[in-house]
Amino acid sequence: MRFSGWRVLREGLTGNRGWRPHWRDAAPKSEYDVVIIGGGGHGLATAYYLAKNHGIANVAVLEKGYLGGGNVGRNTTIVRANYMMPGNSEFYSHSLRLWEGLEADLNYNVMHSQRGQIVLFHSDGQRDAGARRGNAMINQGDDAELLSRADLRRMVPYLDYDNARFPIYGGLLQRRAGTARHDAVAWGYARGASERGVDIIQNCEVTGIDTKGGAVTGVQTTRGAIRARKVAIIVAGRSSQVAAMAGMRLPIESHILQAFVTEGLKPCIDHVISFGMGHFYISQSDKGGLVFGGDLDMYASYAARGNLPMVEHVMEAGMTLMPMIGKARVLRSWGGIMDMTPDGSPIIDRTHIEGLYLDAGWCYGGFKAVPGSGFSMAHLVATDRHHPPAARYRLDRFRTGRGLMDEEGTGSQHNLH
């Protein structure tokens, strides 16, 4: 079924009786060409691009809970391409270009809103580092603008320019950055993949990965064994557990990241604002809630919920930066489980087992990567060759030290990225 304004109109006039499932719930078959473990954004996108770009539709996406229940449905919905390290730079640039065509491609309104993101800086040193980044973005073919304090006052008058502990010197603006409706991304990819023949299987937990002679042969699940020529592990948040089924020990430590939304408010924040000194970022959803977040809770966890110290720190950052949001009330807080890697950048690679692939380690930047990750992972799984924009996301880079992508410069401590 094609979605359009006409369809909404027609259905409205005929009692909305014609709507159909957005995706087909399948029962597992005994064998697939490719089994994707993980029905999150990245897994579903990989399935979609396997079918669309590579004609591989005999694919199962296995999801232990409900699809899109992990980080794709728990993030602060920011989409941007403002990286500077070779590897990240080209990957996120590619991903953003995919975002720009996503609604047309999926025939699903994921509400990708290029409202612009401003990263503020608070010292000359930060401005210089921001300039290096902005120039790298432009070198990569993306957009970036350096904003002065006066520019900012015009664009975002509600920041505290006069009393903030860390004065606002200016900002780096990416106009093409913005937000998207996170859940819709998962649903849109699921629908697109399902329409192309992919089996989406919810409530199916993988309990083992079968190998023979160093090659993968299939998976064990709570709904029986499934044979597969290729298996892709795409389970950010649970990567270490699933990889352990294949005897792997990953360069990943799992951490909680909390996020917050306020009660609905009339429009007051038109951009995505990131606070360089306070690990704070905020935007306003189309429904009117302020959606914001901060840093990790900073201890390894799988609990997907956090504690007050970071909650309060995030609120403090909001209050010093934009004290006009003080009267907004936090309605809900939640947590996601982040695959933190030693350089803060992800992994899209083969493993030591033939036919077993790994897409993991997205730290807390995975949402904007969904299209790019799916595209590049599908390419890798289908062709066994690295897709150029993701070619640096190698698993062995930590051992060799080659091609590390430490955007923050904080080194090999997982939680510092």
Binding site: S240, R249, L250, I252, S254, A300, N307, P309
Partner: protein, 90 residues
């Protein structure tokens, strides 16, 4: 979250700095080889359940402590000085 410092007693989590898995106290020999060093610095068991991790009582007595914790429930089962934790090992 509260952690019981072996020296100071139960304290709020805010007083502590978290470093990572307690494996950090078992530094390999310089010639142990690339795999061993990669495991030491990068690869992690990352268990969903009981774990031992390393914290620093930064706003307290400056002790580095090994905390036994559950990563699913956040229950803190115990804490000992890093020095003692090291001594237990052969």
């Amino acid at each position: 979250m509260r952690i019981t410092c072996p020296i100071c007693g139960p304290r709020d989590r805010r007083e502590f700095y978290y470093q990572g898995a307690a494996v950090a106290i078992e530094r390999p020999a310089p010639d142990a080889g690339a795999e061993v060093w990669d495991d030491y610095l990068h690869n992690r068991d990352n268990p969903a359940g009981e774990t031992r991790d390393l914290w620093y009582h930064e706003s307290g007595c400056a002790a580095w402590i090994v905390v036994t914790r559950d990563t699913n429930t956040h229950e803190v089962m115990g804490a000992e000085l890093a020095d003692d934790a090291k001594a237990e090992r052969p």
